[in-house]
Symmetry: C2
Subunit: 355 residues, 2 copies
């Protein structure tokens, strides 16, 4: 992106904030020299940190805030009492047109609750969701919800499917992305009532979606579908389980290589390609999940990430802004909502259609 643009950063959100936020912004500035940053947080803490990054300081403005939303703050409490927080103010900057998007590594529930109040969901969307990319055997797969909505009904799942499909079309460049519902068996009798109802709606000809039915946990990495749809509880557990397993595999590999001098010798030759694999499955590379279904760009970084990871989350926001993705998703949703969604979602079958 060559045109100048401004990003709003919640400098106090995350386990290792504000350090990793500033480090991440400094790395991102190298990649996007035309970026400006609004840093929301405690000026007394931010000022000396920012002084360490001369180039970043030149394109950043600190906006002092007193309040910090902690990890154990309930979303309801955050939106009642947190309006002076770095998180609230950072989101508000987008609403006010001062920034094109916001990135936070803070409390996910609070971030989503605030974003919904400040930015409002897109027309026709009841519950915005967290959407991310996974590495797979076939390339990359879109998955949502990764943790915004712990409990979901059929209508929520259908909305996720529609948003995920738009996202995959726009960001992965697929003409007709395939969609699957994450379940514990591919047979129609498996799973919860919400899953079975959502499956019925998604199969309906009104939606005209490349719906592949139920998929299972191992289908995520296999890349069986382009879009994996699930509730936020299951999605979050699956995401973190996959990350944990990849780390475990990497640590087994390192330990095994260090246990044998012959292997260490062999690794002198194999190291470049092994490093490629490590990089390809590095969770930091996939850090930065988009909140889809909102009137604005909000990117959530993993709370425990480092500067490299936070820079990647900033990269996701830049991508979204550059490609004007949210507008495209909004248009697509509006089209689908008008043409097909309401027909495919009989009110009496899966609950009231939100206003």
């Amino acid at each position: 992106m060559s045109a100048a643009f401004t990003l709003s950063l919640d400098a106090m959100g995350g386990d290792f904030a504000p350090e990793i936020v500033l480090k991440g912004a400094a790395l991102a500035r190298e990649r996007y020299p035309s970026a400006h940053f609004l840093l929301f947080g405690d000026e007394a803490k931010l000022k000396p940190l920012l002084a360490q990054y001369v180039a970043l300081a030149a394109c950043s403005t600190i906006r002092h805030t007193d309040q910090v939303i902690t990890g154990d703050t309930k979303p309801s409490q955050a939106i009642r009492q947190g309006r002076q927080s770095s998180m609230w103010k950072a989101i508000e900057a987008v609403k006010l047109g001062e920034a094109a998007g916001v990135v936070s590594a803070g409390n996910t529930g609070a971030l989503m609750a605030m974003a919904k109040i400040i930015m409002r969901p897109l027309p026709g969307i009841d519950r915005p969701a967290i959407c991310g990319l996974f590495p797979t055997r076939m390339g990359e797969t879109t998955m949502l919800d990764l943790g915004a909505n712990a409990q979901c009904d059929a209508r929520n799942l259908v909305e996720f499917a529609v948003m995920g499909e738009c996202f995959a079309r726009a960001i992965l460049g697929l003409e007709r992305p395939s969609v699957g519902l994450l379940n514990i068996g591919s047979e129609d009798v498996k799973g919860t009532d919400a899953l079975r109802e959502a499956s019925q709606v998604l199969r309906s000809s009104h939606l005209d979606m490349e719906f592949k039915g139920f998929i299972e946990g191992d289908d995520i990495a296999a890349g069986t579908v382009d879009v994996v749809v699930t509730d936020g509880f299951t999605g979050n557990v699956a995401l973190k389980t996959a990350e944990g397993t990849a780390k475990l595999f990497a640590s087994f590999l390192k330990a095994a290589i260090h246990s044998s001098w012959l292997a260490k010798f062999g690794m002198l030759f194999a190291k470049p390609v092994i490093s490629q694999v490590m990089a390809r499955t590095d969770a930091r590379r996939y850090n930065g999940a988009l909140f889809v279904g909102l009137n604005g760009v909000v990117v959530k970084s993993h709370g425990g990430t480092d500067g490299v990871g936070f820079a990647n989350a900033i990269g996701v926001a830049v991508d979204m802004i550059a490609r004007d993705l949210n507008t495209k998703i909004g248009e697509e949703l509006a089209r689908i909502a008008a043409d097909r969604l309401e027909e495919a979602l009989p009110v009496e079958a899966i609950g009231a259609v939100p206003q």
Copy 2:
């Protein structure tokens, strides 16, 4: 185990049955020469297959059954109409004292429903669960439920914790296994009502459990706790996601090595240790999950496993029988139930106590 013992096998259960069942039994016979097998299934199919394994044939008896429980049979339908099936008859053999345990790679829901009717749950247990072992950075972790109960209330989760703790004490030889509840955040406000209620009960001094509170998906592979407790939906997705990710990592590694002749050369030296890692994370090695909470040994094999995997599932059953684990779990449960569980589970707080 040197004393002779008999295992009952559902020869028709699983995606590649009966072939993989007989292949698995033949491999298991080499490991356990004193084993006898009762093979339940279609005699016309089993006879010519068994003839290929001379040693296995010498210690096996075919019991003809006409009916097969397919993957899409509902549990309710299976128990009403499936009483002449290979699955039902194989379980029944344990109840009748003809076999010490049963192994099936068939329909999980049907197997659990039948086992509950034929064997009955242990006293004090409302919902038996599927319990398995995961490789972790620290060694191995017990996880349950892996798919028997898609929706669980707080009482179910507490029972799983108690059973999992007994299992870890007995099979991993731990004096005081630590227990965690799988959630989407470690803060007390996260997750569903059932999780929060279960957490409160598990913290109670009555249970005297090494309860570590909420853990997240990446804690499974990190080995943060010895026992991971979750509902069957989440557990099943996590298990399969971890398997899928391990396979993905392995395939990335293979592809990377084959892409470079230098790496291929290096691999001549590193191959033995790489193979160790592959073996350590091979899903087949962890195949065979125990149904805990039943009056009898029932082991569920992955439906899509091969002969090597099925042989490992047989090994789990042999272990359970040799160590008389189910009796130990039963005794421990009875003791806890009498001493502490009823005190820790106020009826009005988390629903009716089952009879």
